[in-house]
């Protein structure tokens, strides 16, 4: 029996069948900030990946790979500047993570395919 199971240690407004940490009315604190930073780290890493791949494509003299990497990098940079500041307002309870997550995963898939194409180009030389 833990201390939380004893009625004397329970908060007055806490229902007996509710998990001690499950308090939907409580403000999320720094969780929104941490999530925003996680988005920025991801966008930054994706742009660095685009730069590395573009540089590699220039060395390989593969213009389509270089153009694809540059286009993806610019799209990510513009999208990050426009979309990320609009998100993660703690009071925005009706937000959906799905569209941006889809874009992030799609960008990584595109980058992976371009990277694989660069590797295949090296293999065939």
């Amino acid at each position: 029996v833990t201390s939380a199971d004893r009625p004397a240690d329970r908060l007055p407004d806490e229902a007996p069948d509710r998990h001690p940490d499950d308090r939907p009315d409580e403000p999320p604190g720094a969780a929104g900030e941490r999530t925003a930073l996680a988005w920025q780290r991801t966008a930054l890493l994706a742009m660095v990946g685009c730069f590395l791949l573009g540089y590699r494509a220039l060395i390989l003299r593969e213009p389509w790979l270089a153009i694809g990497s540059a286009a993806l990098g610019v799209a990510l940079a513009v999208g990050s500047v426009i979309a990320l500041p609009l998100r993660h307002n703690a009071s925005d309870a009706g937000r959906s993570e799905w569209p941006l997550l889809m874009i992030a995963a799609g960008s990584v898939i595109a980058l992976g395919v371009l990277g694989a194409a660069a590797g295949i180009s090296s293999l065939t030389r």
């Binding site: 999320p28 890493l45 990584v108 990277g115």
Partner: protein, 133 residues
């Protein structure tokens, strides 16, 4: 059969409906933690791709065998799959949070660890056998 929640009224147009159409609104902290976990998977995928590009670049600069290029191709493709898994795991976990069900086990983690182990052992073996005497 789970009915749509009271919060999922006509004004709630969030997609996908397979997630937001079921259960009730969870604590926003858990939702955001789930989002950060998905982003961590996406970043892992990006790191695998960056590693693959770095490997093929080093192989070309140092005139190393083409087997390293093959490893780089596999690493880039696995990075893309890792990002897809991040998306799928977010979907499963958010649904479980809304339905107050236990979170699904991170099954893709064993695939990632297995892949990294194989690549690490392979590259270590290559470095040992190709080292100058």
């Amino acid at each position: 059969m789970v009915e749509p929640s009271d919060s999922a009224d006509t004004a709630d147009r969030r997609r996908p409906r397979s997630v937001y159409g079921v259960g009730s609104e969870p604590d926003p902290r858990w939702s955001m933690a789930n989002e950060r976990t998905a982003l961590a998977w996406v970043r892992t995928g990006l790191a695998l791709i960056a590693g693959g590009v770095a490997l093929t670049s080093v192989a070309a600069l140092s005139d190393l065998p083409t087997v390293l290029d093959a490893v780089a191709v596999v690493s880039c493709l696995f990075g893309g799959l890792t990002a897809v898994n991040g998306l799928a795991s977010w979907h499963r976990a958010e649904r479980a949070l809304r339905l107050r069900e236990p979170l699904p086990a991170p099954t893709a983690l064993r695939w990632l660890v297995g892949f990294l182990m194989i690549v690490a052992i392979g590259l270590a073996w290559y470095a040992i056998t190709q080292a100058p005497a």
